[in-house]
Symmetry: C2
Amino acid sequence: MAYTISEAARLMSVSPSTIRYYDKEGLLPEVKRQNGIRMFDEVDFGWLRLLMCLKKTGMPIKRIKEYVELSKKGDATLLERYELIRAQRQFVQDQIEQLEYYMEELDFKDWYYRKALEIGSEKAIDYNEYEQETGHKKP
Amino acid sequence: MAYTISEAARLMSVSPSTIRYYDKEGLLPEVKRQNGIRMFDEVDFGWLRLLMCLKKTGMPIKRIKEYVELSKKGDATLLERYELIRAQRQFVQDQIEQLEYYMEELDFKDWYYRKALEIGSEKAIDYNEYEQETGHKKP
DNA sequence: ATAACCCTTAAAGTATACTTTAAGTCAAGG
DNA sequence: CCTTGACTTAAAGTATACTTTAAGGGTTAT
């Protein structure tokens, strides 16, 4: 099955112009055309899914393009691509850890406002109660 | 203790001009000055830490400013601020889940390239082996 | 006192990632 | 036949978050 750009866009939850932009930037190798019109098949959706994965995990478009260029060169670049994926994996792990760290700060703020709303004011909050009540350290 | 902008910047791992930009945008209430020069005390560092937390968890500067404005209005805005923090907590949780989802895709790619390097080519990879070898589903 | 060095501002510049616009092509339906 | 609607391109525009530049001020060391 092959899809037009607007169908592909809908399936990937992005706009058609975004896909055109990705294509123009060389992030989508091998998009076939019928009468000049892009037709997206399963291979293209594979690329789109990987593209979204890398994008959503914070990889800049330039770097994704590097990965695509490496892929086009075939087996000679397997190690380079492996290392790029490993680096991205590490990057995602670091991001998750960072978010979990900041979540503690938001948990404290959550407690803080619950307490303030209970008392009716934030001026009289006793921070020591946070550790006592939640067992968590104040960040 | 009070610090100059470059000391504060070093302590927060940002550039002095970034802090000036935040100040100009109204993200730092109550920064005192000596002879026109900003002096950062513990209260300011509290704001800077919260600012970094919200920024690093993806809140746009405009929204952070809204939060700061609400804070300046005092106890009358406690509920609004509570809801803003709750929304950000949810947002962070969603982000973590999304990253964990994409991590599975990267785990598959990791396996894929290990396998390809082992065989010497990516052409002969049998995807069925992924589930057999790792116990994880192919994403 | 004069150079070094840190601070100040406003305004312009940069980077990234789209998004919109303008002008045009092509196939299908009334 | 011609209008409708989806596609095409190149180029310009937008949003966000800084970063850099230019011009200047005040304290300290030589």
